[in-house]
């Protein structure tokens, strides 16, 4: 890594970058030909090419959302994005076979170490494709499929065809269309009936190149009575020009299955993070989103659950931290389609140094869904007067038997708390760090311990220089 790069990094400790040694790099900009070229390069079946092209046209025709941070959205320069970049000829099963530059990056991010200690499988994506992939043998023996999405499509085309775009149709929104048109990488997971994957599996997404667009696509199917915990992390170098990350994640929890999807998004402050995440929960199934948004310039992400089968449950816990120049527009959506379905939404946000966080929620209960219960709690913590926090909850409830609770609060760090902690020897910054970590604790405690520790450190770092 060059000195310049080092200097540019500032406080963001993952802001370093490697030389760009692309083996294939598409010209910037998006055309139908680019979409077809990606598909051809990957040797995809006809139906996938078709859906990509349809999605491409939908993306081009569809206007930008007229809500959210329109001025930030409008400043995305789609012509200045690299839509596909291959940096390694193949996905390796052994870290030693991964090209050195790339391996070093993941070493610095602590991925191989984490894999050895506590993960059931790892996929590491660098730019457009997975460079490393492995799964524990015992899981493979039980029939668990854990592949990068490109390999998933090659090896299990019928399974992918059956479920692809069924949870998030390409025309769902402008960015789901974009992702469907140019998707590359992501994870494909199938957990057979009754199999419980005890150790979490992890995907790590790294953008390295400038003006890169990363469009991974993830599809997780948990068959009846099975369970899995999937964890994703993401970082990028700090550049003065913007990168675009636009993913789509589709989860399918069959009867009695449970999927937990945890994210710690820590993109550098030049990344647009526009992601569509949605899960379907069938009878007595559980879908849980544990979603942390620390980095990025603009995040727009509203993890959703469709409660399709009776007795299904959705759990969405999210936190957002918006610092200087950042807008975290996050939230949650739950659609109660079936009777006796339940949902819990907890959203916590912190705004600092003029940062902005918004909670956008949608809760729907169908007329025929009886006896549904939902609880929504939104807490915002403002660290100074320049920052901003908004809540946009929408409820469409057409069944009077629904039992709904909604609580929202906006608070500041109290002088009493600071004085108390400082009287125990914490400096003002340390005291704020402790209060902030405490505020996020309901989220942090849901993460694997290693992540929780890392997140707490990160927030403490963010509090440095917080005192004017």
């Amino acid at each position: 890594m060059s000195e310049d790069a080092n200097n540019a990094v500032g406080d963001y400790k993952y802001g370093f970058h490697d030389p760009e040694n692309a083996t294939i790099r598409f010209d910037k900009g998006l055309t139908e030909q680019v979409v077809r070229d990606i598909s051809e390069l990957k040797n995809e079946p006809e139906w996938m090419t078709e859906i990509r092209v349809k999605a491409y046209h939908h993306f081009m025709d569809r206007p930008m959302p007229n809500w959210g941070n329109c001025s930030m959205l409008d400043s995305i320069d789609f012509d200045n994005v690299t839509y596909f970049l291959r940096s390694s000829e193949q996905t390796e099963k052994n870290w030693d076979d991964v090209p050195d530059d790339i391996k070093n990056t993941f070493d610095r991010l602590g991925i191989p170490e984490a894999e050895q200690k506590w993960l059931g499988g790892v996929t590491a994506q660098y730019e457009s494709e997975a460079v490393y992939h492995s799964i524990r043998e015992d899981l493979e023996e039980q029939g668990v499929i854990f592949l990068d999405m490109d390999s998933g499509l090659k090896e299990y085309p019928e399974l992918v065809k059956k479920y692809f775009c069924t949870v998030v149709p390409y025309a769902d929104n402008k960015f789901s269309a974009l992702n469907t048109a140019v998707w590359s990488g992501g994870s494909f997971i199938y957990v057979p009936k009754g199999v419980h994957v005890e150790m979490p599996v992890q995907a790590y997404f790294r953008i390295n190149a400038k003006n890169m667009g990363q469009f991974e696509r993830t599809l997780i199917i948990a068959d009846e009575g099975s369970s899995i915990h999937y964890v994703e992390g993401c970082t990028a170098p700090t550049y003065s020009t913007d990168s675009l990350h636009s993913a789509v994640v589709e989860l399918i929890a069959m009867d009695g299955a449970k999927i937990r999807y945890s994210t710690v998004q820590n993109w550098s402050a030049n990344v647009y993070n526009l992601v569509t995440k949605r899960g379907i929960a069938h009878k007595n199934a559980v879908v849980e989103w544990v979603d942390g948004n620390i980095g990025s310039k603009l995040t727009m992400k509203y993890p959703a659950v469709i409660l399709k089968g009776e007795g299904a449950h959705a759990e969405i816990i999210s936190v957002a931290y918006a610092g200087e120049g950042q807008h975290q527009d996050a939230g949650a959506k739950v659609h109660h389609l079936a009777s006796n379905t339940t949902s819990n939404i907890l959203s916590k946000s912190i705004s600092k140094n003029g940062g902005r966080s918004s909670y956008r929620g949608l809760l729907k209960v169908n007329p025929k869904a009886h006896g549904c219960r939902s609880k929504v709690v939104c807490d915002a913590l403002m660290l100074d007067a320049d920052s901003r926090s908004d809540t946009y909850p929408t409820m469409e409830v057409s069944n009077s038997s629904a039992d709904l609770e909604h609580e929202a609060s906006v608070s500041k760090i109290s002088g009493d708390q600071l004085f108390y902690l400082m009287s125990r020897g914490f400096s003002e910054e340390e005291a704020m760090g402790l209060i902030v970590n405490g505020f996020f604790e309901p989220f942090t405690r849901e993460l694997p311990m290693e992540y929780a520790v890392e997140l707490n450190k990160l927030l403490e770092l963010e509090m440095e220089g917080a005192i004017g």
């Binding site: 400096s427 405490g438 604790e441």
Partner: protein, 245 residues
């Protein structure tokens, strides 16, 4: 070196332009326990807060010397690290921060020596046993949902672990049941051996258990009378009216 821990000279303190402390002198030596009794609103907590360095209070005149140094410019946490401890009359809750973790960090902040994890656990167990606190408190959030008496016990636990040079105890006895009062008093007596203690209280029942060397009666921002333990008994019997000019 003198054994003077705290030396307050002609202290005047205002908050929002209103004078609350109106000329206080007080010297506390190692091993001494000073009790302050006084009417509600007379300025007792204000004095404790000012000593700890609360930013809302303005010292308009007078000086505070701690261990021989003028401390006006010391920040709150620097005073804590120099061995000052305040047991709060109303300890605030810190949601999401677990007691065990908070204690460990506080001890590391405040005590000079590097305390090994094992040693810390031993001290912690010991102190919790003395205060008859259940270990389940360690995983609860600091003061969050604690009863009044539980909060005061946690304050005492912190004092025992932080080993201060000067302990400012603001109504540590209020809210404690009879048995807890006895345990807390024992804790204070043990800790108080070689330090200075300023004990703010309304009741003789604590002073029966923790024998003060000096008692100061406070009215309207001033010590109107100082004396030995017998003054506390007199205040208990007669109230404060007789002290007013």
């Amino acid at each position: 070196m003198s054994d003077l821990i705290l030396d307050i000279r002609e202290l005047h303190v205002s908050v929002d332009g209103k004078e609350i402390i109106k000329g206080i002198n007080l010297a506390i030596k190692t091993g001494e326990i000073h009790a302050i009794m006084g009417r509600n609103g007379s300025g007792k907590s204000t004095l404790a807060h000012v000593l700890m360095g609360h930013p809302a209070y303005e010292i308009t005149s007078g000086e505070i010397f701690y261990l021989g140094k003028a401390i006006e410019d010391y920040d709150v946490f620097e005073r804590a690290r120099a061995g000052m401890f305040l047991s709060f009359q109303y300890p605030p809750s810190i949601p999401g921060v677990q007691v065990g973790n908070f204690l460990k960090k506080s001890v590391n902040n405040v005590r000079d020596e590097n305390i090994k994890a094992r040693e810390f656990r031993k001290e912690l167990n010991n102190a919790m046993e003395k205060l008859e606190m259940d270990r389940s408190f360690l995983s609860r959030y600091v003061n969050d949902g604690f009863s009044g008496g539980e909060k005061k016990r946690l304050e005492m636990l912190q004092m025992m672990l932080l080993k201060p040079r000067l302990a400012l105890l603001d109504e540590t006895d209020s809210g404690l049941d009879i048995d807890a009062l006895r345990l807390v008093a024992k804790g204070i007596n043990e800790t108080a051996q070689n330090i200075g203690v300023l004990l703010i209280t309304h009741y003789q029942r604590l002073l029966d258990l923790v024998k003060p060397d000096f008692v100061h009666a406070m009215i309207d921002g001033k010590f109107v009378k100082s004396g030995g333990p017998e003054l506390a008994l007199e205040l208990e019997a007669r109230g404060y009216d007789w002290l007013e000019a």
